[in-house]
Symmetry: C2
Subunit: 140 residues, 2 copies
C-alpha cells in the first residue's frame, strides 16, 4: 500500500506539473477570449493624411471595456457598435448647418475593430462638417 | 475725471472680452500643448500584415502620461522615448536564444509618435524572435 500511495503521489505531482502551466496561461490571457478592438484616431488641417501633420491623436479601445484617451470613449464605442465598426456608415447630423468655407480637415482611423483591420481616411471641407459627422467618434 | 474713469472701465471690459476667450481656450485645450503620441500595436501569425488577422491589438498613449491597454504602458513608453520613437532602432536582446523554427509572426505599429505618423511592420521567424526584440514594447 505504501508503494501504491507513493506512486499515486508521484502521478499527482506529474499531472500538476504538466497541466499547471497550461491552466495558468489560459487564465493569464483573457485578451484572447474576445476579438480585439483598438484604434488610433487623428485629425489635422489639410486635405490628405499623407501630407498633413496630425494635430490631435487619441486611442480608443472598445473591448473588454471602453477606454482610451478619447474624451468620450464609452459613447464612441457605443456609436461604433451601432454601425458595426463601418466608419463609412457614419451619417452627418441633420441639425448642424455649416458654411461652405474651404479650410479642409482630414481624419484618419487605424487599428483593429473586432479582429478586423481598419484603415479609414476622410477629408471634410471644414471643421464644422467634420464635427457634424456622427455624434461622438470624431469629437476629440 | 468721470469720463476718464468710464473710458478706463470700458477699455478694461474690452480687454477682458478680447483676451478672455483666448485665455479660456488655452486652458481648455491642454491636448494642444504637447505633440500627441497615440499608437495601436498588433500581432498575428503569418508573414504579412495585409493577409494576417490580428490576434492581439493594444493601444498605447505616451503623452501626457503613459496609458493604454498595453499591459506595460509605462515601460513601453520609456523604451520608445529612449529610441526617439524609431521602431527600427529596437535591438534584439542578447540573452535570448531562439530556435530557427519557421512559424512567422508579424507585428504592426500605427498611429502618431510626438506628432509624426508611424507606420511600422516587421515579420519574425517565430514568436520567440519577436519577444526577444526590445524589452516591453512587443510584450503584449
Amino acid at each position: 500500500m505504501r508503494n501504491t500511495a507513493r506512486w499515486a503521489a508521484a502521478l499527482g505531482l506529474t499531472a500538476a506539473a504538466v497541466c499547471g502551466p497550461l491552466t495558468g496561461s489560459a487564465v493569464a490571457a483573457p485578451a484572447s477570449l474576445y476579438a480585439p478592438s483598438a484604434l488610433v484616431l487623428t485629425t489635422g488641417h489639410g486635405d490628405s493624411a499623407t501630407t498633413v501633420t496630425p494635430e490631435r491623436a487619441v486611442t480608443l479601445s472598445c473591448a473588454p471595456t471602453a477606454t482610451g484617451t478619447h474624451p468620450a470613449a464609452a459613447e464612441a464605442c457605443a456609436e461604433l457598435r451601432g454601425i458595426g465598426g463601418d466608419f463609412t456608415a457614419l451619417k452627418a447630423r441633420a441639425d448642424v448647418h455649416c458654411t461652405r468655407l474651404y479650410d479642409p480637415v482630414v481624419v484618419t482611423v487605424q487599428g483593429v475593430w473586432q479582429g478586423q483591420r481598419v484603415a479609414y481616411e476622410r477629408t471634410f471641407g471644414n471643421a464644422c462638417a467634420k464635427d457634424a459627422l456622427g455624434s461622438s467618434v470624431f469629437a476629440f
